[in-house]
């Protein structure tokens, strides 16, 4: 189905942007044109999906507030403390603050380690994102996903490597292989798998694979070439799903990969 062809009209109709005549014509066409009706149905589904995301975010916020309320409710007993004792306490606190400030400043002068940046930016795909099933590749991909979900990464890696390049799920297999390799601390292999996944131009995978290709670079020894360029490409593309993260990482990697992020 060519969704693009119908998208703008559907959106204008949904948002009340059509003239009365255009609206009438659109509604008539909806009853006659099965493809338009299906595209309209998909648009409505997409709004449901967005609402699901908004609901999930709000659920997380509520849980967070619940946690904060529980920790704030912990009993606090008031103590009567003499003035001289309080002076000693203030003095000790000031000394600790000075020490913390000094060592904190020293710490900030230390170069950021690639390992800590990797820990900050690497995220294992959630269970939800590896449960989908592509028709036709059900057997091997399902087994691979299952092994991955059960944290049997060596087994998952073996299965994902066996998916042939002409398989419709090849991009996803390489992407998950990259993650399995990351879990197995095989970072050069992970980087290669992410590169292959990104090169398949599967819109579901491409940007994620490009990003994790860069993140896995952080753990490849001897400052691999091309990592800085790959990071810069994402940071310069404001449409990229990981643009913001890439901009932030670029600032931090200037200490790891040199001033221009390794370029």
């Amino acid at each position: 189905m060519n969704i693009e062809q119908h998208f703008e009209r559907i959106e204008s109709y949904t948002e009340g942007g059509l003239s009365p005549a255009e609206k009438q014509s659109f509604e008539r066409e909806l009853t006659e044109n099965a493809e338009l009706k299906q595209a309209y149905g998909l648009y409505q589904m997409s709004l449901e999906a967005i609402e699901t995301g908004i609901g999930n975010q709000l659920r997380q916020d509520l849980k967070q507030w619940e946690k904060s309320a529980a920790s704030n409710a912990a009993p606090q007993e008031a103590k009567v403390v003499s003035f001289s004792r309080r002076l000693v306490q203030y003095g000790a606190a000031a000394a600790i603050l000075l020490l913390v400030g000094f060592f904190g400043w020293q710490f900030l002068q230390q170069p950021v380690s690639p390992e800590s940046l990797y820990g900050e930016y690497y995220e294992l795909p959630s269970a939800g994102s590896i449960r989908g099933v592509d028709p036709g590749t059900k057997g091997a991909m399902d087994q691979g996903r299952q092994a991955f979900g059960e944290k049997k990464y060596a087994q998952a890696a073996q299965i994902f490597s066996s998916i042939p390049s002409n398989d419709p799920a090849y991009a996803e297999a390489q992407y998950l292989l990259g993650h399995a390799d990351c879990q197995l601390q095989q970072f050069p292999a992970a980087r290669a798998a992410f590169a292959i996944a990104a090169a398949q131009n599967d819109f579901r995978i491409k940007e994620k694979a490009e990003w994790y290709g860069v993140v896995s670079c952080l753990r490849v020894n001897d400052q691999p070439s091309g990592c800085g360029d790959a990071l810069a490409a994402i940071a310069e593309n404001s449409d990229h799903a990981y643009h913001d993260s890439a901009v932030a990482l670029q600032k931090k990697t200037s200490k790891v990969w040199g001033k221009n992020s390794g370029r």
């Binding site: 693009e4 998909l42 589904m45 449901e48 989908g132 404001s238 799903a241």
Partner: protein, 199 residues
């Protein structure tokens, strides 16, 4: 502590405005201890426990947020009364699912009938799971753009929040993300089955 008190109109306006105003209005509702106690008491009187009651209170707020933004809340009762009726409805549904429905109404039944009934459909757990899987496949940036757009943020606000150079760039990104989401949904057999039934 939330010092602001909202009447129906102000509450609806804040939720529709999105951003911090929406957040504060939701927080105001969340911090109503009496209302929370009533929801928990209702659930406890009907075969649930405190945790179930808290969950219902949260789920009720989520449904209310959407109903208000979709104009399903007509303002015929107070926002808090409406929230209680949603929580009650959600818990009854839960009991029905578990086939243990013998509902014990709260003492002040008279007050209950003044409340609007939540008419909006409630997404099934199955659909929520499928939608969640599809959203996971969409990039983080895309999810954020679409959330902000659905929460009525202007393209200028989206551009400012996500660091786009201008509105046009934000609009282009929103178009691209929305299209990707629809394409992902199209590839999901569960979604397509529902769509076929509808078409």
């Amino acid at each position: 502590m939330n010092a602001v008190v909202y009447d129906n109109e102000q509450f609806v306006a804040a939720l529709k405005q999105g951003g911090l105003k929406r957040q504060s209005a939701i927080r105001w509702l969340y911090e109503d201890k009496e209302l929370r106690k009533r929801v928990i008491a209702f659930v406890r009187n009907n075969q649930g426990n405190e945790e179930d009651g808290t969950d219902m209170f949260h789920e009720g707020i989520i449904v209310l947020d959407r109903n208000v933004r979709d104009d399903s809340f007509r303002g015929e009762s107070s926002v808090k009364g409406y929230l209680f009726s949603i929580c009650r409805f959600l818990w009854m549904n839960q009991l029905r699912k578990n086939s243990r429905i013998t509902l014990v109404e709260p003492g002040n039944v008279k007050e209950e009938v003044e409340y609007e009934t939540p008419e909006r459909h409630f997404q099934s757990d199955e659909l929520k799971t499928v939608m969640g899987q599809v959203l996971d496949q969409l990039g983080q940036q895309c999810r954020k753009i679409l959330d902000l757009w659905k929460l009525s943020h202007s393209m200028a606000e989206i551009a400012a929040e996500l660091g786009f150079d201008n509105d046009a760039q934000a609009r282009k990104a929103k178009y691209r993300c929305h299209l990707s989401l629809m394409q992902l949904l199209e590839k999901n057999p569960g979604i397509m089955q529902r769509l076929k039934e509808w078409v």
